[in-house]
Amino acid sequence: MTATPTVAPDDSEVQKKVTDERPDSWWHLPLTTTVLGLIALVFFGLRGVPGAESSFALAREGDLNPLGLIPERITVPSIGGAVALAVIALAASAALWVLHARAARPRPAARLGLIAVFAVSWILAFMTWVISERALDVATLLQGTLALAVPLAFGALSGVLSERAGVINIAIEGQLLFGAFGAALVGSLAGSAWVGLIAAPIMALVMGALLAMFAVGYRVQQIIVGVVLNVLAIGVTSFFFGTVMRQNPGQFNSPLRLPTLRIPVLADIPVIGRVLFEQNILVYLMWIIVAGLTIALFRTRWGLRVRAVGEHPRAADTVGIPVNRTRWINVMLGSAVAGLGGATLTIGTGVAFGEEMSAGKGYIALAAMILGRYHPVGALLAALTFAFADSLQLRLGTMSAAEGGVSIPGDFLLMLPYVVALFAVAGVVGRVRVPAANGVPYVKQ
């Protein structure tokens, strides 16, 4: 600036020009929300089932519910409720238009708040429409959401751990599968789900070691290694499932279940009590690991080193951080965490191991990690979003058996999480900053 004082005499002017520049795509978000809101208004509201009522079950008998503060159920007329909610959603998108038109760079808090209002009212409008003439137990829906989010969150945390250190981890799927397999196999052999819980991360370490060996040690293209390792995991587990486990399911593959740990008083809070405080140990572990990892990554020396290795390995090496060793350790840690996620699939839900039982969860976890911007908390939130889609799909799938009302083909419901992931990745990924050295093997000079 000092070199060309005549061109820009004042620093502030330059500053202002930069901030005032509106991104070309500023109208994308408001337009999308408006279109979605109109869809909600027309399809969920005006074209809903006439005269039908939708009810949401909230509190239960025996909950800690002074003076019936939380009603047992809320019943609304389907069309009226959906129209009202769609109007709220449209109002939120109108506010978004105003916000974006007024200021070139709106305050993120206001923007996020409006988006949240829009999303919640849109989803509620959808649910009001879809459960016409039926009742939806909100607590069960949320409980399912959390249970389904656990493997995704663990998988996404595995991704965060290794990708923050610069190793692309497509092999989450394989790590989940190995974790599920190890938990079922070892747990059955020992006859205790707790042994399975310990075995799952150890089993998943095999996948992590292979990934680290090929990606870090032999510097094979990391996406290739990941994809190939996933196929290997499917092959190996299916092979043993087809031979050893099928020959003697009682000894090698019996359905075990980790006990549900109920926290006495807190679990009696209506709706959220059962969701948050009546789960198995893996759910509590997930909260601990998310919190611990957030602190460790962003508040400790270790985390700084890991991020340095992921952003600029040469600089990290120059100051004496062992780049490849850090990557090895992080990939191993990540795979162990993903192994816990795998354990959720078998001993967490009380089912025996099944062929390819991870069913693409590893890839959704990957999407959750990217959507969560390589941050543990973000990854958890993204995992919860996908899991909500999945849980809703499951609830609606079981409810479709009931009479009347709107019915969406089950296959489209099954598609739901994947469609959400696709749109989320497409819509958000442009604003995600990937660790600079992600996927680049480090060659020491």
Partner: protein, 553 residues
């Protein structure tokens, strides 16, 4: 040897050490060197790595067979009393499994002799016996070719995207929509005989192109990672197929079964060997796909743009090639080819749509393209190989009770091993090819060092498996000089540091720097005795010219 060690240990000027080695080596030593060089070339050769990769993959496969075999486990219960029983059981279970695999994939010897005996018993002789017997014996081979057909076409599509640096994992989805479109046209439309087939194939191709294009559009417009979007599109296509097979449009009259009516005869790909064999004209399309891959990637402007973006997006942007537009085109072309594979599969082999119509072709195509290093010949060979493994595996499953998943494991292991040649060489005890210091003596080590300095740490064969094959097969001399560069610089265990910096530039300045630094800072992780051959760049560098000529001769 001592002359080489001296310069560092006595920390004399680099010129002294180099001077002592300036004289050309005596002739007999030169001959010995050449012999050793040839041996090294073999040891470093890709063929050895490929062969050993297969051997290791099958060995690990045998371990799995043995673990899964109940008889073997029973013999192990009294292993100490009669160990021979266990070994016999192991040998039998492994050889029977692999024997069955061969029988199911290539030549059915049992079927051959049975038909021959039957015919002889009926009084036949000469070609009357030979031809039908051969037909029975070679039936597995035709099966292999049938299975290979869609695999090769799909792998060609995958190869296009891999060469362009895009990881299209969406083979399954593109295959499904291709099969759906081709199948729908095949069993509902009523068209003349050749036109119907062509339109059905075209429909499959277009559907696949659209499905790939969605991922390409998301990549180009929003920068969405194609790995994730293609995987999500796989699931969406899968459920779309499930849904379609519940609608009247796809199931026709019989709506209770999730299968479509058969493709009408006018749209079926013609059989090549009569109705007794499944081999169909799609084989020519597979050959055509390989040729198309070659033409597209090596001869066309579009393919040049694809490769340019694949190797350096920034440089191609400067050159006026839009990476995002190219990404869209790449995924469209790749999706189109994979969609065509789906069309061929449903019009030639399956002849109807079912929920599992795509099978594992979509994912197998990825491994085939990787194994074939995304080249036309490689894709065809790898496709045939994988098809053979899976048809053989199917026979093994039915006759020996070994699950088909074993084949998947073997296929993947082969790809993994081939992707990491240093691992294979370490396993067969040729570690010193990659780590010249550990086992090599004197001049060989220095020669390797000289070679390595001439190519500045080109990590061609470890960063991308698609590149290494092409460089090394086309020009053996350059490959032999490039490989040590990789190996010396690249394949040390992650913890250790490559001392003596083989990747350093060969210019005199670099040499001085290296020679000065080495004595002054004896690094903690390299003991002096071990580092002596490695810290030989001064001597090696001076010999560089003679070495280079020696190599070329």
């Amino acid at each position: 040897m001592t002359a080489v060690v001296d310069p560092e240990n006595t920390s004399s000027a680099p010129g002294v050490g180099a001077g002592s080695n300036d004289a050309p080596p005596p002739p007999e030593q030169q001959a010995e060197d050449r012999l050793r060089g040839t041996l090294q070339k073999i040891a470093r050769g890709d063929l050895l790595v490929v062969v050993m990769s297969f051997i290791f993959a099958f060995l690990i496969g045998s371990v799995l067979i043995v673990i899964a075999d109940t008889e073997v486990r029973e013999t192990f219960s009294y292993f100490l009393d009669r160990p021979s029983d266990a070994f016999t059981a192991i040998w039998q279970s492994v050889t029977q499994a692999y024997g069955a695999m061969f029988r199911g994939a290539v030549f059915d010897g049992v079927g051959y002799s049975r038909v021959a005996d039957d015919l002889r018993a009926a009084g036949g002789s000469g070609t009357y016996v030979l031809l039908p017997a051969l037909a029975a014996g070679l039936r597995p081979l035709t099966e292999t070719l049938t299975v290979a057909t869609p695999l090769i076409i799909a792998a060609a599509g995958m190869a296009v995207s891999f060469r362009a640096g895009l990881f299209n994992i969406g083979g399954t989805g593109q295959l499904i929509v291709g099969a759906m479109a081709a199948g729908y046209i095949g069993f509902t439309w009523d068209l003349p005989i050749v036109v119907h087939l062509l339109i059905a194939l075209l429909g499959g191709l277009l559907a696949g192109a659209v499905w790939g294009g969605i991922a390409g559009f998301l990549k180009a417009r929003f920068g969405a990672n194609e790995v994730i979007s293609t995987i999500m599109l796989n699931w969406i296509a899968t459920y779309l197929l499930f849904f379609a097979l519940k609608t009247a449009a796809f199931t026709g009259a019989n709506q209770s079964q999730p299968t479509s009516p058969s493709i009408s005869d006018s749209a079926v790909l013609p059989q090549l060997l009569g109705s007794g064999f499944r081999l169909h004209a799609g084989l020519f399309l597979a050959a055509g796909a390989a040729v198309l891959l070659w033409w597209l990637m090596s001869r066309s402007t579009l393919g040049f743009q694809f490769r340019a973006v694949g190797s350096n997006p920034r440089a191609s942007r400067v050159a006026g090639i839009s990476p995002s537009r190219t990404a869209f085109l790449v995924l469209t072309v790749a999706g189109g080819l994979v969609g065509l594979a789906g069309a061929v599969h449903v019009l030639g082999t399956e002849k109807r749509l079912t929920e599992g119509v795509a099978g594992s072709i979509g994912f197998d195509a990825i491994t085939v393209a990787l194994l074939g290093r995304s080249g036309p010949v490689g894709v065809v060979l790898a496709g045939l190989l994988f098809a053979g493994l899976s048809t053989g595996g199917r026979f093994m499953e039915s006759s020996q009770g070994v699950p088909l998943d074993l084949v998947q494991v073997i296929q993947v292991l082969v790809v993994l091993f081939i992707a990491a040649p240093p691992l294979v060489r370490t396993l067969i005890g040729l570690r010193r090819v990659d780590h010249p210091s550990t086992g090599a003596r004197g001049r060989t080590a220095r020669r390797t060092m000289a070679g390595s300095t001439s190519t500045s740490a080109s990590n061609s064969d470890s960063t991308s498996i698609s590149d290494s094959m092409s460089t090394s097969t086309t020009s053996p001399p350059s490959a032999s000089s490039a490989d040590p560069g990789t190996s010396a610089a690249g394949d040390l265990p992650p913890g250790s540091t490559p001392e003596g910096s083989p990747g350093r530039s060969p210019d005199p300045a670099g040499r001085h720097e290296g020679a000065h630094r080495d004595p002054s800072a004896p690094s903690p992780d390299a003991p002096s005795s071990d580092s002596s051959p490695r810290t030989a760049p001064p001597a090696g560098d001076v010999e560089d010219p003679t070495d280079a000529t020696g190599d070329q001769r």
